[in-house]
């Protein structure tokens, strides 16, 4: 007010601060909307695939009919009833079962209902699967399997991430050395998936040497003592975790190593070397810093990858995790469980992608959120 003349030019060309906020807000809103729409479409597609466009409905209906007709015919309690009465009762029970499975509603209505429930994280009840505690709640089925998956995937993936990152860093320091060549030579071994190594590990350590179990979570019966329980868990964990670890090991080192080498051949690194900075300083300031966004992205994707579990490795090792649950759910045509598992992954992915944009801006001053257009 006292200095109106000074305030005028500011309002005219928009203060840089409000500009940033506006840009940030617009960008955030737009990003959330696009990510949300992406998740919704992906989930609806998953629901449609899980129904095979209504094909699974016919299968489930026939299965319910067969099962109930069989039940009524073989139940000794109904033996006294006449054939007509039995038939009528079977029909009623079939109608009830079809209603329970939601098959009396048209596909569009049902899939939309699934979609809305999934988006609101109302996971609902499983159609055929039951948790070990006897619950039909999808939430409790998933929560029951989650610890096993987190243990297996967490230990193997995090170990893999950090081991390959640090080994790659140390190898990139002396490229052309024996270990460097060794890693390059071994990289093709990563073309085989984890379960494939799992089979060889079972063969060597379980079948021939007989020192580690073939599979499962703990030995049967589970030890009562906490310490012994943990020991048994560890014993069962070694082989599946090692197979997941080894299948990604050399490729991960190779890609990190190449990535670091590209950055260490930049001019400013040469300059730093010429200035006489120590190797450690060069590494932390000029190599790790610009590669940080990539490291963070990879780490974030590793973290959400842990959630999805390893379907086949878990199946091969009889590991009661989320991956095997999903496989079992598909075998039982249990759409709510399939959708429940997928939606959580989708949300985690969307949130991670969203947050990464901001993390980039934090770790890399050159990046502006919503900028770059």
């Amino acid at each position: 007010m006292a200095l109106p003349a000074k305030a005028e030019p500011e309002t005219k060309k928009d203060s840089p601060k409000t500009n940033t906020f506006l840009r940030l807000f617009r960008y955030t809103a737009l990003r959330i909307v696009t990510l949300f729409v992406t998740v919704v479409i992906a989930i609806y597609l998953t629901i449609l695939i899980a129904n095979m466009g209504g094909y699974v409905d016919t299968m489930m209906r026939t299965e319910a009919q067969d099962r109930i007709t069989q039940q009524v015919a073989s139940n000794p309690a109904y033996r006294a009833m006449s054939t007509d009465a039995k038939k009528k009762m079977a029909q009623q029970m079939i109608q009830l079962e079809i209603k329970r499975l939601g098959l009396d509603q048209p596909l569009v209505v049902r899939t939309t209902k699934y979609l809305v429930n999934a988006i609101t994280l109302n996971l609902g009840r499983a159609q055929n699967m039951v948790s070990d505690t006897g619950s039909r709640q999808v939430k409790s089925i998933i929560l029951e399997r989650l610890p096993a998956t987190l243990l297996l995937m967490g230990s193997s993936e995090l170990l893999l991430f950090f081991a390959s990152l640090f080994l790659a860093l140390s190898i990139s320091r002396k490229y052309g050395s024996f270990w460097d060549k060794f890693v390059i030579a071994m990289t093709p071994t990563s073309s085989a998936p984890g379960w494939f190594y799992g089979i060889f590990f079972i063969l060597i350590f379980s079948a021939v040497l007989k020192i580690l179990p073939f599979g499962g979570l703990v030995s049967a019966p589970p030890p009562k003592n906490v310490f012994l329980y943990a020991l048994s868990l560890l014993q069962h964990l070694i082989l599946p975790a090692a197979s997941l670890f080894i299948s990604g090991f050399f490729l991960n080192i190779y890609s990190w190593r190449t990535f670091f080498l590209i950055y260490s051949s930049e001019d400013y690194v040469e300059m730093a070397k010429a200035k006489g900075l120590t190797a450690k300083d060069i590494e932390s300031r000029y190599i790790l810093k610009p590669t940080l966004p990539n490291i963070v992205t990879n780490f974030a994707l590793t973290l959400i990858g842990i959630w999805s579990g390893a379907i086949i490795t878990e199946t091969v090792f009889n590991w009661p995790g989320l991956g095997r649950m999903l496989y079992q759910a598909i075998g039982l045509y249990d759409v709510p469980v399939i959708v429940g598992d997928t939606i959580i992954f989708a949300y985690l992915l969307a949130i991670t992608v969203f947050l990464l944009d901001f993390v980039y801006a934090l770790v890399d001053p050159r990046v502006k959120v919503g900028g770059g257009n």
Binding site: T34, T38, V39, I41, A42, I43, L45, T46, I49, A50, M52, Y55, V56, M59, Y175, I184, A185, T187, P188, T189, S190, S191, A192, P193, W195, F196, I199, F200, I202, L203, S206, A207, V208, F214, R257, T258, L261, I262, S265, S308, I311, I312, T315, V316, L326, Y327, I330, G331, Y333, I338, D341, T342, F345, A346, L349, A350
Partner: protein, 448 residues
């Protein structure tokens, strides 16, 4: 162009891993071609789907014969011989107009340290009303003869040696197999090695009557690859798995690559909403779970590996790859020769297919080669989940059979190792060549 190829080949020669990979791939192609010619598709399917009627002459769960090289105690090798195809000798002497004497003999060396599971004679006799009479015996290495069975033989008489009363009664403290293949004069029951002879003397009583027989020696090891739970010779799926794995891997990798490239080129060229649409589809596909969708297609829809392959290709098109191709196409789009093409009035399709895509091809070859193993292993991955093709004999199917039957638990290691090693060699072959090509075609990596 020719010069580039020549210099590329020269470059590749510098990488020993590329040479090894190339040799593996060439060997696989040769095996695949020979297999398809030697065992035509229909025959392979017939054999693979065949039950006891096709495979009765093999033992169950027999390890390959070559495992004997590594054994201290040699296992008896399974074999079968037949008079119908001349592998077993048959001498016919006419006694009268209506009667003939038929003598079938077969000598075999028995050098194993264990007893066979069983011996069997499958007769295939022809007569109208009067059955021929047969007298079966085994001549031991020391010249002694052990009678097995005497009597009339029906048209499809099967003689299971271990079940023949006459043979069982001769030995008080030994099983029929121990009795046949040990020295009867010794107190201890020990395997007697040497040349044994099967002698079948038959008499026919009709003019057109004839005797034919197949002699099956059920050992505990068999053939080059062993057998599975259905007595099937594993050589069939191991050989036939080669062309299938190659086809699956190459079609998957080529299909994904070409479609990704075309879509990326179209998006980069037209821009606008086409480009935006492709980007959105890619983002949606990122959320879709890849393996679960393939499992759903396999469980609900079709277990044919070609349907699953098609789905896998579709899901693999819209990935991060399409974004990096798009970025490269965006650069190429600005090149002078594209400008020139536009100036002379080239159509959009012409520019995309004649000018944009060809520039990318050298960049794509390494990726093409190294994505083959992913598809080869994908087939095996689905098979081990029980979603293998129900008709085709594939490596993954063998691994699944072995897994379901507890091969590792029960010690049938060969069953799991054979297909797994083949898968690994294939994967390594393509991966080694692919990595080397990557360094040849991407000079930036070469210095690293």
């Amino acid at each position: 162009m020719l010069n580039t190829i020549k210099s590329s080949i020269k470059e590749i020669k510098r990488y020993p891993s590329a040479i090894v990979g190339l040799i593996i791939i060439l060997a696989m192609i040769i095996v695949a071609i020979v297999t398809v010619i030697a065992i035509p598709y229909n025959k392979a399917i017939y054999l693979w789907r065949g039950g006891e009627d096709v495979w009765y002459m093999n033992p169950k769960f027999a390890a390959p014969a070559w495992t004997n090289w590594f054994r201290v105690n040699k296992e008896p090798v399974s074999f079968s011989v037949n008079t119908a195809n001349g592998t077993m000798k048959k001498v016919v002497t006419n006694v009268s107009a209506d009667s003939k004497t038929i003598e079938i003999t077969y000598s075999f060396d028995f050098e194993a340290d264990a007893y066979p599971q069983d011996l069997m004679l499958y007769f295939n006799n022809t007569y109208a009303t009067k059955q021929p009479f047969v007298d079966i015996s085994i001549i031991m290495p020391n010249g002694g003869s052990i009678p097995i069975m005497q009597g009339g033989a029906s048209a499809h008489e099967n003689v299971r040696f271990s079940q023949e009363q006459k043979l069982i009664k001769q030995f008080s403290n030994r099983t029929p197999m121990q009795g046949l293949f040990s020295d009867p004069t010794q107190q201890d029951i020990e395997v007697q090695k040497g040349t044994y002879q099967l002698v079948v003397t038959g008499t026919t009583f009709e003019k057109d009557s004839d005797i034919n027989a197949e002699f099956v020696f059920y050992g505990t090891v068999y053939g080059a690859a062993g057998t599975d739970m259905g007595r099937r010779d594993l050589l069939i799926p191991l050989l036939w798995g080669t062309p299938i794995a190659l086809a699956f891997g190459l079609i998957g990798s080529l299909g994904t690559l070409i479609l990704t490239m075309i879509i990326a080129a179209v998006g980069a060229w037209y821009g606008g909403w086409v480009d935006a649409l492709i980007q959105r589809i890619t983002e949606i596909n990122l959320v879709l779970p890849f393996l679960p969708i393939l499992i759903m297609v396999g469980t609900f829809f079709s277990r044919s590996i070609w349907v699953i392959l098609g789905t896998a290709i579709l899901l693999s098109i819209f990935t991060g790859q399409i974004k990096s191709y798009r970025a490269i196409f965006m650069q190429i789009r600005e090149a002078g020769y594209i400008e020139a093409a536009k100036a002379y009035g080239a159509s959009d399709t012409r520019i995309i297919f004649k000018y944009l895509i060809p520039r990318m091809i050298p960049l794509l070859i390494p990726g093409l080669v190294s994505s083959v193993p992913a598809f080869v292993f994908l087939e095996a991955s689905l098979a081990i989940l029980g979603l293998g093709d129900p008709v085709l004999p594939t490596w993954g199917k063998v691994i699944n059979d072995a897994d379901v039957n507890g091969a590792l638990f029960k010690g049938y290691y060969y069953w799991m190792i054979e297909p797994a090693v083949l898968l690994m060699i294939t994967g390594l072959g393509f991966a080694m060549l692919g990595f080397a090509l990557d360094r040849v075609f991407n000079p930036k990596l070469r210095e690293m």
